[in-house]
């Protein structure tokens, strides 16, 4: 095992631990903090793949902006700790389904020959990303801006009351 591989497994373990923390923490603020950990772990994976730009975006957007937004939403809506169990009698079935799902995915992923399995990571520069984004991918990029506008309108419609003008 090379040291990069060892590093990857450490990072992966931290990411998974963070993700588990999100769903098991009783305190929603703790959940949000665990989420930051998991998202930063993903950023670290990007660094390992020599995609620093993606890593920076991941930290800025997900690790920073998104989680801060979640924390603000919690603060403003004054959520309390979750009391009592969130699950019902379907727990054993869910456990069974999740295990089968995990087993199948692990089997399929390990048996598969993935495209681009090499020891060398391809380095993609910011210039290349920028050019691709505004040439080949210009159309989805534009639609994404439309999507944001729809989300804004939707948020206003859902947040404002029916009465009054």
């Amino acid at each position: 095992m090379t040291y990069e591989e060892a590093l990857f497994y450490v990072i992966a373990a931290i990411t998974v631990a963070g993700a588990l923390g999100v769903v098991t923490a009783r305190n929603v603020i703790h959940s949000a903090l665990f989420l930051i950990l998991a998202l930063l772990g993903v950023a670290a994976v990007y660094v390992l793949l020599a995609s620093e730009f993606l890593a920076i975006v991941q930290v800025l957007v997900y690790g920073g902006a998104v989680t801060i937004l979640i924390l603000f939403a919690m603060m403003l809506t004054r959520v309390r700790d979750i009391e009592g169990p969130l699950d019902g009698p379907q727990r054993p079935f869910a456990a069974l389904a999740a295990t089968v799902f995990l087993g199948t995915t692990v089997l399929a992923v390990t048996q598969t020959e993935w495209r681009g399995e090499t020891d060398e990571a391809t380095v993609v520069t910011i210039e290349q990303i920028g050019e691709a984004l505004f040439s080949t991918w210009a159309m989805p990029f534009e639609i994404a801006s439309l999507l944001l506008m729809v989300a804004l309108i939707g948020a206003i419609v859902l947040a404002r009351g029916e009465e009054g003008e």
Partner: protein, 490 residues
């Protein structure tokens, strides 16, 4: 400019949406009074956008403009054009069907704009030939639909929105996971690239099957087939009725369009075709049976149509299951699905608009309260009965031809058992569809007060009913359109 020309039908819808929002914003500054009476202006703009989109699609057909646009992100072919027509027409009908509802609510501009944007998103879903493009279009219409489902702020509406939002987010994640598999295997996001990988490989079958399963699960939410149908009854009941109609027709058709595009264009050749054909056959059988059995016991007509739409989705899936690798069957199975979606659009829009008109007047969604509607409003009762006959599959309606078409495809593909299940289910469905008809015609109403639908609803309903009889009596044009749409994949 050629690219923009090909994108015209969607652009017309989006420009209409933009205009509506701007007018809605500026009007109160100009005149308070004009703002109060803005509904006819805004609905007119929305109808104009839908008509513009239809006209542009027609122009593309007439000038024989086809091709890929925007670096292979979308492809404008007969398949895309068919769905352009379908979504623009459905959007227009929904706008007409919403006027009465909007007159009693605020957010009129936002509502109409979101309908148009959602229709444009669905149309882009059908046109997309790249996974990224398809995904963005999928999200675009999903976010517009969230807001539309939650636009009325009552309790069942909020519950419906939350359910819809959460389950939709999960299904999106699953779809994306499936797409990630395809990208990981082929190194391509374009459907062509994936197709050439799938056609030339005899390895990695398990991962490909898994990708197909994830995509089916994620997009099954859109198509509303069992076991991804949990959201349907609650959301259909809680959403404003015109939006329910929009979900049950346009959103479902968009789901089928994407499934056809991805499965036929990218996963259509090679080893795994038979795998997903079996998967679809199983889902079709379960959806039809469960949907129909649960529809039997519903007292609320919107919930009944919700379960019935699950059963109908199962019937449509028979056509996809019948696509078993060989060319003649590919054509028959695919064109039967496209035809069914067209016929179903007329039928279900008609049924929902009739329900909007009737429920608004009698003040109830309960089937029991539909007693004697025929005596109070014979035309409305006749229109609803025609739509329900078409949903059951009686001649001479569109539903009859559609069902024969799909069952024929199944039989030709050696799926006789599936066709038999389909026929048996049609018999079951006759019971609950005809119960409504019986209630309307054979019972006496509590009051004899006559009523008529508003002119907007009347126009939309007349178009739907004329359409469903026209297709039922002379189906050739729609069959030809479906076949040329299906030929894109052969």
């Amino acid at each position: 400019m050629d690219d923009l020309n090909l994108l015209g039908p969607q652009l017309a819808l989006l420009i209409g949406a933009g205009l509506i929002i701007i007018v809605d914003l500026l009007l109160p500054i100009v005149s308070r009074q004009a703002y109060q009476g803005r509904l006819p202006l805004l609905s007119g703009l929305a109808l104009l956008a839908a008509a513009g989109s239809l006209g542009w699609s027609l122009a593309l057909v007439l000038t024989d403009e086809r091709g890929e646009a925007f670096d292979g992100m979308i492809s404008v072919d007969d398949f895309t054009l068919f769905f352009n027509f379908l979504f623009a027409a459905v959007a227009g009908a929904i706008v007409l069907g919403s006027v009465d509802y909007l007159a009693r609510h605020r957010f009129q501009g936002e509502y109409l704009a979101l309908i148009l944007i959602a229709a444009a998103g669905m149309s882009l879903m059908a046109a997309g030939t790249d996974l990224i493009m398809i995904f963005i279009a999928l999200e675009l219409q999903a976010i517009a639909l969230f807001a539309l489902v939650g636009i009325s702020k009552n309790e069942s509406g909020s519950e419906a929105t939350l359910k819809f939002l959460l389950l939709s987010a999960i299904s999106t994640a699953i779809t994306l996971y499936g797409m990630a598999y395809l990208f990981g295997l082929s190194g391509e996001t374009s459907l062509d690239g994936i197709a050439s990988y799938v056609a030339n490989t005899d390895e990695n079958r398990s991962a490909l099957v898994l990708a197909a399963v994830f995509l089916t699960a994620g997009l099954g939410f859109k198509m509303a087939v069992v076991p991804f149908q949990m959201w349907v009854p609650d959301v259909y009941e809680g959403a404003p009725t015109p939006i329910t109609a929009f979900l049950s027709v346009a959103s479902k058709a968009a789901g089928f369009a994407v499934v056809m595009r991805i499965f036929l264009a990218a996963l259509g050749e090679g080893l795994i075709t038979t795998d997903w054909a079996y998967l679809f056959a199983a889902i079709a059988a379960v959806s039809m049976t469960l949907g129909n059995v649960l529809a039997l016991v519903q007292g609320n007509i919107k919930r009944m149509l919700g379960y019935s739409s699950i059963a109908q989705a199962g019937t449509i899936l028979i056509g996809l299951a019948a696509v078993a690798a060989e060319d003649p069957q590919l054509l028959l199975g695919t064109s039967s699905v496209v035809f069914f979606l067209g016929a179903y659009a007329f039928t279900n829009i008609g049924a929902f608009i009739a329900i909007i008109a009737i429920s608004h007047k009698i003040g109830s969604d309960q089937i029991a309260d539909y007693a004697g509607v025929a005596k109070r409003s014979p035309l409305l009762a006749f229109a609803l009965a025609a739509c329900l006959f078409s949903l059951t599959g009686f001649p001479p309606t569109a539903g009859f031809i559609a069902k024969i078409y799909v069952f024929n495809a199944a039989v030709q593909a050696d799926l006789v058992w599936l066709a038999i299940i389909g026929v048996l289910n049609s018999v079951i469905s006759a019971y609950y569809y005809l119960r409504v008809v019986l209630n309307m015609f054979a019972r006496d109403p509590e009051t004899d007060e006559a009523f008529t639908p508003s002119p907007y609803l009347g126009a939309a309903l007349a178009a739907a009913v004329v359409g469903l009889f026209a297709i039922g009596i002379y189906p050739t044009p729609l069959i030809e359109a479906s076949e040329s749409a299906a030929r894109v994949f052969s």
